[in-house]
Symmetry: C2
Subunit: 386 residues, 2 copies
């Protein structure tokens, strides 16, 4: 337990939550875009027409109609063999990661991970006392040639990757990299966990197939969530795996918390059955695309001499790289003084990483706030006038 | 992972769920008593008036007004120092048990446990590769003199107990036993987890103070839930511990699933703020008391020569002990053939236990069903004519 430390992001959210900040630090979507009124009507309907089951205990694997619905979504994403028995409903996709780590990792086991990576996944691996085989990212995703070399040297117990609009960098893995990573994991029979929370938030280009669709591999796990499309509050995520893995993870799920909310699962099913998911995704895409564009335009106007940055095709985050001698954590108090917040990038590396990077969220503030915030951010990062 | 096996109860629920059985096997409350209509109105109101926050990510520790409300409930139960920072909101009380086990147990660590005990807790301990110091129960609860001897021989890493209307036996620990157990744990600085899911379901007698209220002990953990009073579907449980333990468990909670449902927590708060919890508890007590009485009366009429049984002052379960050479698991197919279901008692012991016991749930069927079911059960247990 000693290796678990508080999430830097969560601590930041707490300290700035009360104040009047323009937050680029958040890991959160914009709650103004959650379909609250529609969900109110649906929750009311679910409780009035199916209240007893919606309030009762339920199966660890998840509510059967939701497993079927998720299987259909996964087939649309290109996972041809996705059937309900290959789906486990989880309490958000975080739980999917934690269950997979709990099932596959013993203390000291090496995890091959692209760096930087999703902070809460690193924290989960840390809690199981994992060690790391870090492999850097470039604009095409994980450096798969380096991953292949690492696997020849040390056999990892788990590979972890975020192929689409990666948190924290916004980078999307190319099809070629996906194919090579899928083959690498399958050939060596290494469990691979692919976290695809942002799949639906694509603002340009055509969707690419999941890694889980690119090789026959009994230990391929794919995770997703309704948190980024419908809303995070109800905590409904899912994973795909072959039936024996789903059975094992369902046993662990039962031990962990018995099952996910019967009510929340039914609300999601009814929302989707009414045909509301696709228009909601379109609405989010339009809103978030405009915000991404606003951020990239403002950065081009104000940040050109201060940093380089990624140009994400989707998701929620842009990744900035400052001069090599800059320290984003040391600059943060200056940013706070100007009324803007971001997350320094070092904490997104297992055991810490370079100090000259930072993550910007472009979906929790609207365009006007982004346009006001970027010049303030640029002033803070330029230093000097403090 | 190899030691985790499917829950016998969950498997039974699955096989009999579709059929026309009188179920004494269930671990479930009666969904007809869940306040579905009221919760529909409250969910609707929460989503319309506080929708953004109810649908947003939230703090790992729980929604602040719910932590305050739980602290007040705990003070009413006799835990005088219960303040919001001593409360962690969990995804049902199962998660509270799992988090405590995850924090305090390494593979091979001994858990002192009363036997029989709660199956899903045993499964959680098994998943962390615990070993056991089993201590039998009698009508006054855990044999605390034997527990004291065991602790002198081998220092457990955790003590686990269910003081009120224990699942599976229905037994309530006396005040004297509670005091001695509290002192034992505190004196030896052994973490103690007290699972009190059934506190509110008392049908006679005065409430007894929690063990956590009976000694100053920095590692005393008390768990509870709204699953047995409002409803299990929303998955809202809680634990009490000293602030450093709450902080550590909140970090683990964040890694596990980020946080509990923002929506479900707000629904519980509004339900309680409207003053609905106390009348709901009164309603459940009246209904379940009548069912307990019906079961005990029917057992007296039909079971006198077949078994002895406990007389619970609350909760959901009666525990039957058959002749010493009887095998409740072997008799189960006969019971199923007659249309009644129960849970054989062996699985409630770590590593298995005596074959001649079984657990009866008296709250999921109503009095008429209980009165029809007990003669059928008696025929099945009598054997012969099957």
């Amino acid at each position: 337990m000693a290796r678990v430390t508080p999430s830097a992001i969560m601590e930041l959210i707490k300290t700035t939550a009360g104040g009047d900040y323009i937050s680029f630090a958040s890991g959160l979507p914009d709650p103004a875009l959650y379909p609250a009124e529609t969900l109110a009507a649906i929750a009311d309907e679910v409780l009035r027409t199916d209240g007893r089951m919606a309030l009762q205990y339920g199966p660890a694997e998840g509510y059967a109609p939701l497993r079927a619905l998720v299987a259909e979504i996964l087939r649309q994403r290109g996972i041809g063999d996705a059937t309900p028995d290959r789906v486990l409903i989880t309490h958000g996709s975080q739980q999917a990661l934690d269950l997979a780590a709990r099932a596959f990792l013993d203390p000291g086991d090496p995890v091959l991970i692209e760096t930087p990576s999703y902070l809460a996944a690193i924290q989960a691996f840390d809690s199981y006392e994992a060690t790391y085989l870090p492999v850097p990212l470039d604009d095409a995703g994980i450096d798969v040639a380096q991953a292949e070399r690492r696997v020849r040297e040390v056999r990892p117990k788990l590979i972890f990757t975020l192929p689409n609009f990666q948190n924290p960098t916004g980078i999307t893995q190319t099809l070629e990299r996906r194919q090579r990573l899928a083959t690498l994991a399958a050939t060596h029979a290494i469990p691979i966990v692919e976290d695809d929370a942002y799949y639906d938030l694509r603002y340009e280009g055509e969707p690419l197939p999941p890694i889980a669709a690119l090789a026959r591999h009994p230990l391929a796990i794919y995770t997703g969530t309704f948190s980024k499309t419908i809303a995070p509050g109800p905590r409904v995520g899912f994973l795909y795996a072959q039936p024996p893995v789903v059975e094992r993870l369902a046993q662990l799920k039962q031990i962990t918390d018995l099952h996910s909310s019967s009510l929340a699962q039914r609300i999601v099913v009814r929302y989707c059955e009414r045909g509301l998911l696709v228009p909601q995704i379109e609405r989010l895409r339009a809103a978030y695309r405009a915000r991404r564009d606003a951020l990239l335009t403002a950065l081009a106007a104000h940040g050109r001499d201060l940093a380089t940055w990624t140009r994400p095709a989707g998701g929620m985050f842009v990744w900035l790289t400052l001069r090599s001698d800059a320290d984003a954590a040391a600059l943060l108090p200056r940013a706070l003084a100007k009324g803007v917040v971001y997350v320094p990038g070092a904490s997104f590396h297992p055991g810490g990483g370079p100090a000259n990077t930072l993550r910007l969220n472009f979906v929790s503030a609207d365009e006007a706030a982004i346009e006001r915030g970027v010049p303030l951010l640029a002033e803070a990062l330029a230093g000097g006038e403090g």
